[in-house]
């Protein structure tokens, strides 16, 4: 019983933590570029990033299989070169969580960066600071509330990820059975006791993480 609860919790937090870390870094870079640069095909980047938010998770999962499966576009190259197959591993669950939570990060953070008055950046330029320094020490700190909101949303989305993960990583006990998937399969198998336990833990973890973030944000003046 302990193993049936403990493993899903650990693997879920591990997947969500790694995916959120990548989402936070890449998402912030993408958001900065979308908010501050004009370039050809900007709309396309915006559409591609946002797409998983509007597609059914099963479709996202299916597209990931097409890309990452042994006969997929990237999956085949990877398999031919290294012999590694991504599907049905916890790593591919990280990719699935990344893809579905990136739009939440990018939408929130882009809005937060766009809301930073450009005069602050211009002031930094006139004081001799390059764009990268300005972004790191002026723009992003001033957008930090929005960035944190994006990170929290992305983490929550990753913890709750179900459809795409089930498609690409399956439900392999001891390997890819995340909380959301374990709850579904426990309920399907009539093991209501286990389902109840998992639900209570998942709700508690979610509430805790939200409460901690709210406290943290409240302490920030700006």
């Amino acid at each position: 019983m302990l193993e049936q609860v403990w493993f899903p919790l650990v693997i879920t937090l591990k997947i969500a933590a790694i995916s959120t870390l990548i989402v936070a870094i890449l998402g912030t870079i993408i958001s900065y570029i979308l908010a501050r640069r004009e370039f050809m095909g900007k709309w396309l980047v915006d559409v591609l990033v946002t797409l998983p938010m509007v597609l059914p998770p099963t479709v996202t999962g299916y597209l990931l299989i097409v890309l990452l499966g042994k006969n997929g576009i990237f999956g085949k190259v990877l398999f031919d070169l290294t012999g590694i197959s991504l599907l049905f591993t916890w790593q591919v669950a990280v990719i699935a969580a990344f893809v579905v939570s990136l739009p939440l990060m990018v939408k929130t953070t882009t809005a937060a960066i766009e809301a930073v008055d450009r005069d602050f950046e211009y002031a930094a330029f006139t004081l001799g600071r390059k764009e990268l320094e300005t972004a790191l020490f002026i723009t992003l700190p001033l957008a930090k509330k929005g960035i944190l909101a994006g990170i929290v949303l992305s983490f929550a989305r990753a913890v709750g990820e179900f459809g795409a993960t089930l498609m690409v990583a399956g439900n392999i006990p001891g390997r890819t059975n995340t909380m959301a998937i374990s709850i579904y399969s426990a309920f399907q198998g009539g093991n209501n006791e286990l389902a109840n336990m998992l639900v209570i833990i998942l709700v508690t973890v979610s509430l805790l993480s939200m409460a901690i973030t709210a406290r943290l944000v409240n302490r920030w003046k700006i």
Binding site: D117, A124, L127, G128, R129
Partner: protein, 373 residues
């Protein structure tokens, strides 16, 4: 030394408009020169002052021309020089101050001191705090400062890296009158002390007049006139400048009569309205405009009327009287084609006149103060 600019900037509604040959929505042609002095860029909102300042600072790229500051080429279209903002060594004070809200005053001022040791930074910040009389504020955050204090911190931050030119974009527009007066004085003092050119934007004529060594007048994206405040205020070159500097009484389409060489005056006439002005070298028959500032229209009391010669004296009726604080504005109907004149008198002088709206009286236009353009 000093500033030499001659550039153009075009704003298009959409980027593609330029290629399609669609006219830009705004055109700026900025051309002026100035020494290491306090230069006021003066004009209405939307006249191109801020765009000019942003082009000089490098925040905007002009479409052509040259910008040279202290013999350093900031921008030259033909030689393809466009020095990045960071390398122009300038100080810029924004209209909204743009103090970094997440840094205290000390860090804000030290932000431009790149490559300084901590000790040097501390010393320079101390110097700036003293220069602007804001000692004791160094640990405060911008949200804890008053408008005037923010302004001083913004100045300190801009001056800390020892810029070669200082640009100020309507820096006092959000401050009350007393703080404004103090800061105007402070900027003038700083200019004398540092000896660098300062470009200062304002649309406030009083501010322009009291601060400027040299004024550059903008209207509709064109520089209309450059000169000392006296030249610009008393000898505007055209109607736009005259209006901007507060010459509220302007008459267009007057014909110049023959010059009276004995008194050095000419007659300017439009229909029945005829005034004489102290002007030389005006060709007879020319079509000109003329104007007079409200304070140079004198309302004559009954005693005055006896011993005054008839030149430039008109019988008028008072339309309305507006209190302007230390003075009164008197709207006068001069009769000819319902031209309304505005006169300004001090409250003291006004009391002696016992005037009310609807009264008839006589006014005299000071012929030495009539500007022709």
């Amino acid at each position: 030394m000093g500033i030499k600019v001659d550039f153009r900037k075009r704003h298009y509604m959409k980027k593609s408009d330029k290629k399609k040959g669609i006219d830009p929505v705004f055109m700026l042609d900025a051309k002026f020169e100035a020494g290491n002095e306090l230069v006021v860029l003066f004009g209405r909102s939307g006249s191109g002052k801020t765009t000019a300042l942003q082009c000089i600072s490098g925040l905007l790229e002009p479409n052509g021309g040259k910008i040279i500051v202290n013999d350093k080429v900031y921008f030259d279209c033909h030689k393809r020089i466009d020095l990045p903002v960071q390398q122009r060594s300038l100080g810029y004070v924004f209209q909204n101050y743009a103090l970094f809200p997440h840094m205290d005053v000390k860090k804000n001022i030290a932000y431009g001191l790149k490559g300084f040791s901590e000790e040097e930074k501390g010393r320079r910040v101390g110097e700036m705090l003293r220069l602007l009389h804001i000692e004791g504020l160094e640990d405060n955050y911008p949200s804890q400062l008053s408008g005037g204090q923010k302004q001083r911190v913004a100045l300190a931050r801009a001056l800390a890296p020892k810029p070669e030119i200082l640009l100020l974009d309507e820096p006092f527009s959000a401050l009350d009158a007393v703080v404004r007066m103090k800061l105007r004085e402070m900027i003038r003092r700083i200019q004398k002390e540092l000896g660098i050119p300062i470009l200062f934007i304002t649309h406030n004529p009083v501010e322009a007049f009291t601060m400027a060594d040299r004024m550059v007048i903008f209207h509709n994206g064109q520089v209309q006139q450059t000169g000392t405040p006296e030249e610009v205020f008393y000898h505007p070159q055209n109607t736009h400048v005259a209006e901007l500097v507060g010459m509220t009484n302007i008459f267009e389409d007057a014909i110049v009569g023959d010059e009276d060489t004995a008194t050095g005056t000419v007659l300017l006439r439009k229909d029945e309205l005829q005034v004489s002005a102290m002007q030389q070298k005006l060709k007879a028959g020319r079509n000109v405009s003329w104007g007079i500032r409200p304070e140079n229209i004198h309302i004559l009391s009954e005693e005055d009327e006896k011993d005054v010669e008839e030149e430039n004296v008109f019988s008028v009726s008072v339309k309305s009287i507006v209190n302007k604080g230390a003075s009164k504005l008197i709207y006068i109907d001069i009769g000819h084609h319902q031209n309304l004149l505005i006169a300004e008198t001090s409250n003291q002088a006004f009391e002696k006149l016992h005037l009310e709206a609807g009264d008839a009286c006589k006014v005299k236009l000071d012929k030495r103060k009539i500007a022709v353009f």
